[in-house]
Symmetry: C2
Subunit: 490 residues, 2 copies
């Protein structure tokens, strides 16, 4: 096994092209001294899409990115065996129409994610080979409950609570969740408390923990957020619409690279923004080493909690700030294990694993179509990152490999490359993914969450009401911000 020697977060090499273009030229605003039509803050997918759309419309644009690389959490990287991995998001979903259209436009080929063969469900150390679910709301983890040899009563009780969540999610207003039926009570009820009220057994408790931490538009512990927020998450990113349906041949990160190259010198890297001053004629954005860009409008496309890293003048509304302070950055790391081949496929498996393991609660097949090299994607999710991140990298790897082997056998312990992407340790990203609202935050402080701030327009996937936390939401939010911004420019 070759341990990757890459430190922390990599992927810079593959993006050198875009980076050099960005660095070597002054951006339009800086060059001319005149105000650009829009400054875009944040070079993740949402900011890139907003900038690209503005350029298409003939607007002058400067994009400021705090990091030395573009793409945010949309970053691909070559790995051993001739493969490509995505360090952040990678899948397209069945109903991710905007992402699909974008891939067509950029001429990036896609292929269906591999779901042939059996999955595995692990409960208290015992492994069950199972069919995959075909209805998410009748599944346990990724598995068909009929194939899991646990007491029928416990499974049925868990699925009943599952169904209750599904029913609540149907009643949620995605734009104004605080107006949903019973919103006050649901938002004052932590998920863990809701489960206690219903005498949930350990299986149901784990299933809810698993979905809170892992699946959908959110990452939180069941005690950290409310039933209203969980139901909202299910409403904005319906898990039965197969969010992990297809993949990019070259990795999703290719999308960011292509758009960054299109934008070229409009991008300024290493440009963290400190301050946005608004006046009657526009904005002055102060960044980096006290440089300024003058702009008529701004699109802010960074994760919501990071907005508090910018000093706004006039200041953001107090309730909006209170909401942001109750929108903690979710904790998620990605694991990518690369093998010579997708050995599990030969054994009739598709690498869709789930279960109550110590570190990895789910795995998925993330190979190229032919399974060569074999790649398994997994996650370390939620508050366990607090303790896990204090272990040495070697200890982390050992625990990850132990769980991979529990799912897929001893061969899984011998990857040719193992990449752990520690997103919470990237200062300009801070974690992932999606939106977590603290219990009660939606109903107390939520009502201004979609309000732009003068000529500052919010983008970023978390701003979407359709697949926030996903690429699809990033595109939607970027385009929507441009649409609102145009009303000011017009």
């Amino acid at each position: 096994m070759r341990l990757s020697r890459r430190s922390l977060l990599t992927g810079t090499a593959g993006l050198a092209g875009a980076a050099v273009v960005g660095r070597s030229a002054k951006a339009e605003g800086a060059r001319s001294g005149a105000a650009v039509d829009a400054v875009v803050i944040g070079g993740g997918l949402s900011g890139l899409i907003a900038a690209r759309e503005l350029v298409k419309q003939g607007k002058t644009v400067t994009l400021l990115e705090a990091k030395s690389t573009i793409g945010g959490r949309m970053v691909n990287q070559k790995v051993a065996g001739g493969g490509v991995i995505d360090l952040g998001g990678q899948w397209g979903g069945k109903t991710h129409y905007r992402l699909e259209a974008l891939s067509e436009e950029l001429k990036l080929k896609r292929y269906p994610s591999y779901y042939e063969g059996k999955g595995v469900f692990i409960w208290n150390g015992k492994s069950y080979t199972t069919d995959l679910f075909n209805d998410f709301w009748r599944s346990i983890g990724f598995s068909n409950p009929d194939d899991i040899d646990l007491p029928e009563k416990e499974k049925e009780a868990a699925l009943q609570l599952w169904n209750e969540l599904f029913e609540i999610s149907k009643s949620i207003s995605v734009e104004q969740p605080w107006t949903s039926p019973n919103a006050q009570v649901l938002d004052a009820t932590p998920v863990s408390q809701w489960l206690l009220e219903r005498n949930a057994a350990p299986l149901a408790q784990w299933m809810f923990g698993w979905i809170c931490r892992g699946n959908g538009a959110q990452v939180f512990e069941p005690y950290e957020s409310s039933m209203l927020h969980l139901a909202w998450s299910m409403a904005v990113a319906p898990p039965n619409e197969t969010a992990e349906d297809w993949l990019f041949y070259k990795g999703a990160g290719e999308v960011a690279k292509i758009i960054a190259n299109e934008l070229g010198s409009r991008i300024i890297l290493n440009a963290p923004v400190f301050k946005i001053d608004q006046d009657s004629s526009g904005l002055t954005v102060i960044y980096g080493d006290c440089k300024t860009v003058r702009a008529k409008t701004a699109v802010v496309a960074i994760p919501p909690p990071l907005r508090l890293n910018i000093q706004f003048n006039p200041p953001l509304p107090p309730r909006f700030v209170q909401l942001m302070r109750r929108t903690p950055m979710p904790s998620k790391w990605k694991v990518l294990a690369v093998y010579p081949t997708a050995f599990w496929r030969d054994q009739g498996y598709c690498a869709a694993g789930s279960g109550n393991l110590d570190v990895l609660e789910q795995t998925a097949d993330a190979c190229p179509p032919e399974g060569n090299p074999g790649i398994i994607a997994s996650f370390v999710s939620g508050n366990k990152i607090g303790g896990f991140s204090q272990l040495s990298h070697q200890e982390q790897r050992a625990l990850v490999l132990k769980d991979l082997a529990a799912y897929w056998g001893p061969q899984a312990k011998e990857p040719i490359e193992l990449v752990i992407v520690r997103w919470t340790e990237d200062a300009w990203i801070g974690g992932g993914y999606g939106v977590t609202r603290s219990t009660g935050a939606w109903t107390a402080f939520g009502s201004g969450w979609q309000d732009d701030h003068g000529k500052v327009f919010w983008a970023g996937t978390e701003q979407s009401t359709r697949w926030p936390g996903y690429f699809e939401g990033a595109i939607e939010a970027g385009l929507a911000a441009v649409k609102r911004l145009n009303a000011v420019l017009a």
Copy 2:
């Protein structure tokens, strides 16, 4: 009744002296161009104390304050009838020895808070005249339970839970709460869930809500934070040590004024800090309109969530950032109602009221010793501020007066001045008071909370393990930061 026409947050007038001194002169660092020994960020009590201590020790100091006034939440103001109010904190406690010593040193006279006569407890609209408690852990609100005509069983059940909290609080490590017995379980249990587990009746639920929102070193809703954090709050600020024991004749804000005048031109107002760059020889602090101060060390004495408003280079440790993002700014407004005399005293009351009212869950006598003018202090606390802040100021006043009258009769509806201090609407303060940690944050991300960041030393009352959220904690934390800093300067 004369409605005060002061907008939002006032108190600037009374501080004009200090402000002018600060504005009119360049600070030492700026003047000489050489590095000061320490830059202090934040001009609340903790920062003022740190700066004062450094000056006493012969160090060169620059204090940067984001606002145009000094004192943070330690601000006094003249009101109708010749009285003085404090817009933020005002009381000293029985065991607030540092604050007591400071008042002696500054020659500021104190007097005992007025607790003669009866209190009032209101439950579901019914008012009970009661003796005050003499043991907090045998009290309901501020009242002796024997005087409250509710079923003995319900009162006893509530007091049993009260006692259970008290017992847990004794087992908490104030420095390292995550190492306390049963810490993992306690921290994964929202207070509201803990109450549900014990079938708490409405009275007990309210009592816990009341203490979470109001009394001690924290302000949060029972569903927002954990039993571990509540018990920690009780351990660091024991409510049976009478935290509201005495008052300053001239108002507590006088302390800040005197120290600010001592510091004189070392203070720079209107100087929000954007960035702190550290290198081997010291720090460069960038503030205001991209001005810089060079310093050997820094004391950061601002509320913890506001630290995220500063860009640190090197960045703050990821777990520390995760913790700060799970330390939302508490929501509390202060209400001060001024009357010609303390009419309640003539009726045998001491204005200590508590109860499950819509807006004001507690009131206290805040008069000068002779009760002339009469002043009642109260609070709007917790998430109700979310909705309350959306009402017009006139509507807010009407609701406040309604509750004041419920406690103290129709005369309470006729103040000669009514001041509502909307702390959450002050962009450079953001709320108050004390420390709220989201459920689970202590155990997942807490362990570095006291670690300084290179040559940046944390102060601010919230950093203390003895009376955080109080003046006492502010002094302790300011002095402790200087002590640690001296190890670097030496």
